[in-house]
């Protein structure tokens, strides 16, 4: 077990160290200006020094992202279930949803600000939208792709539509839901950056821009590291959730090679 973990950890660890060392070296050797490419050491020092500032901003972003995620996931699930239960509504509105999904955020952001003013509302709408789409589509796919033999079984023993939804479709779509969530999580962080660019007075995206405009590229790199870390952490949480939620799935197939299908 320990051996196994070690074998999975060392290649990226080695390449990470090599990468950072190379970066540091080329910065020192070629004397690259810090406003073009700051060295890892500089970034680390800066991150340590500016910790109170960026951690406050990071917390604000996290709050925004989590609220957006929560809203997006909730509406995504609700809409998916409604569309699943009403095929006519589904065929009537899904082209709209698809079209709307393709409206570039770059245009949507400013329009949302025109419509909803400043403050949290437009940002939350933006984030909710961005989380809504992957969740709703994955969930809808999951609801529609239940095992036909399980559905047949439920129909044969006389289940109601509600029974089928509750006992088959909802649980069966959980893995799809979490995989949608995994997409939504990544979207939500990068959209939060964008929302904060659009107008905010806190958040790591705001911090990044201010530092950019203040020529502090070292801080920009620090902010990027914070953002990537946040993103990866949230993704990791979603992946963990996925493993917990699909507990009923066998982890590996080796144990059942000899079984009848």
């Amino acid at each position: 077990m320990g051996n196994n973990v070690w074998r999975r950890v060392w290649p990226p660890a080695v390449s990470f160290v090599a990468f950072v060392a190379l970066w540091q070296l080329s910065c020192s050797i070629f004397k690259i200006d810090p406003w073009i490419l700051p060295s890892p050491a500089k970034i680390a020092v800066h991150l340590a020094e500016d910790a109170p500032a960026w951690s406050r901003h990071l917390a604000a972003t996290l709050r925004l992202v989590l609220s957006g995620l929560a809203l997006g996931v909730a509406t995504g699930i609700a809409v998916a279930v409604v569309l699943h239960l009403m095929p006519l509504v589904r065929s009537a509105v899904s082209p709209f949803i698809i079209a709307f999904q393709n409206v570039p955020i770059i245009a949507l952001g400013p329009l949302l600000m025109i419509w909803f003013g400043f403050g949290l509302t437009p940002k939350l709408i933006l984030l909710t939208l961005v989380c809504f789409f992957p969740v709703a589509w994955s969930m809808l796919a999951g609801l529609g792709r239940t095992e036909p033999h399980l559905r047949e079984y439920l129909e044969m023993i006389g289940s109601t539509k509600w029974d089928i939804l509750r006992r088959l479709e909802l649980p069966a779509s959980l893995p799809f839901l979490v995989s949608g969530l995994k997409i939504a999580v990544t979207y939500s962080v990068s959209t939060a950056m964008w929302a904060e660019w659009l107008g905010a007075d806190k958040g790591i995206g705001y911090y990044l821009i201010i530092k950019f405009k203040g020529y502090d590229i070292t801080a920009v790199f620090g902010a990027v590291i914070c953002i990537v870390t946040l993103s990866l952490a949230l993704y990791g949480l979603a992946a963990l959730l996925e493993r917990r939620i699909v507990y009923w799935r066998p982890r590996s197939r080796a144990g059942r090679a000899g079984d009848a299908k």
């Binding site: 033999h149 399980l150 129909e155 023993i157 289940s159 006992r167 009923w248 066998p250």
Partner: protein
Amino acid sequence: MSKLELRNISKSYVRDKKTFSVLDDITISVGEGEFVTLIGPSGSGKSTMFRLIGGVETPDRGQVLIGGRDVTGVRGLISYMPQQASLFPWMTVRDNIVSALEIAGAARGEARASAEDWLRRIELDSVAGEYPHVLSGGMQQRISFLRALLMPRDVMCLDEPFAALDALTRTEMQRWLLKLWEDQRRSVLFVTHSIEEALTLSDRIYVLSPAPARVLREITVPFERPRRADVWTLPAFTALKRDILALLGEGDGDSDAI
């Protein structure tokens, strides 16, 4: 009076704008406590018949009667055991059974008690809390059968329940089912491709033609109950098997078929 009766059922499907007749004036019946088997080539419409009995589809002509009452198109009157075990992977073995009983109208507590009780009786209480994926195929089919058995319904429909098992496990499952069923004596309609399985288990056999399915022959199986494990060694068994093989070969129109 028979428990289940299909009277002059016909059914066809439309596919690619063409009409395929699947069942052609089928009449069969299952008596109280009788084990009746349908045997017929693949695609002859056996599962379709089950869907008609379950009320999931309605026939073009004819009626389905359960306990003498016309229940054509009415759902929720039969218990069912499909080819694949069809256990819900996100429920434990126990919850799979409880859930089915709840759908059939049982209260949760009651369903739970009866599930626990029966799992103990068939010596599967040790896996009651497991998820289905850890069970072998044979175990899964046992649970699936128990789930069908416990539903408080008059007719059990078993659609090729052992087709996905390997030959040895299959034989073992037949023995197990026979023992359980002979204790209980429910009315069963059973579908299989295996002539031996049909002869080993049933009281009566309907041999069906390829689609559109008609009843080629109705055979009463003469072996006494409880049935011996080595019933297949009897000469009468071999004779009947040869008969059915011949029937299916001829119905198929393909002399090479069997």
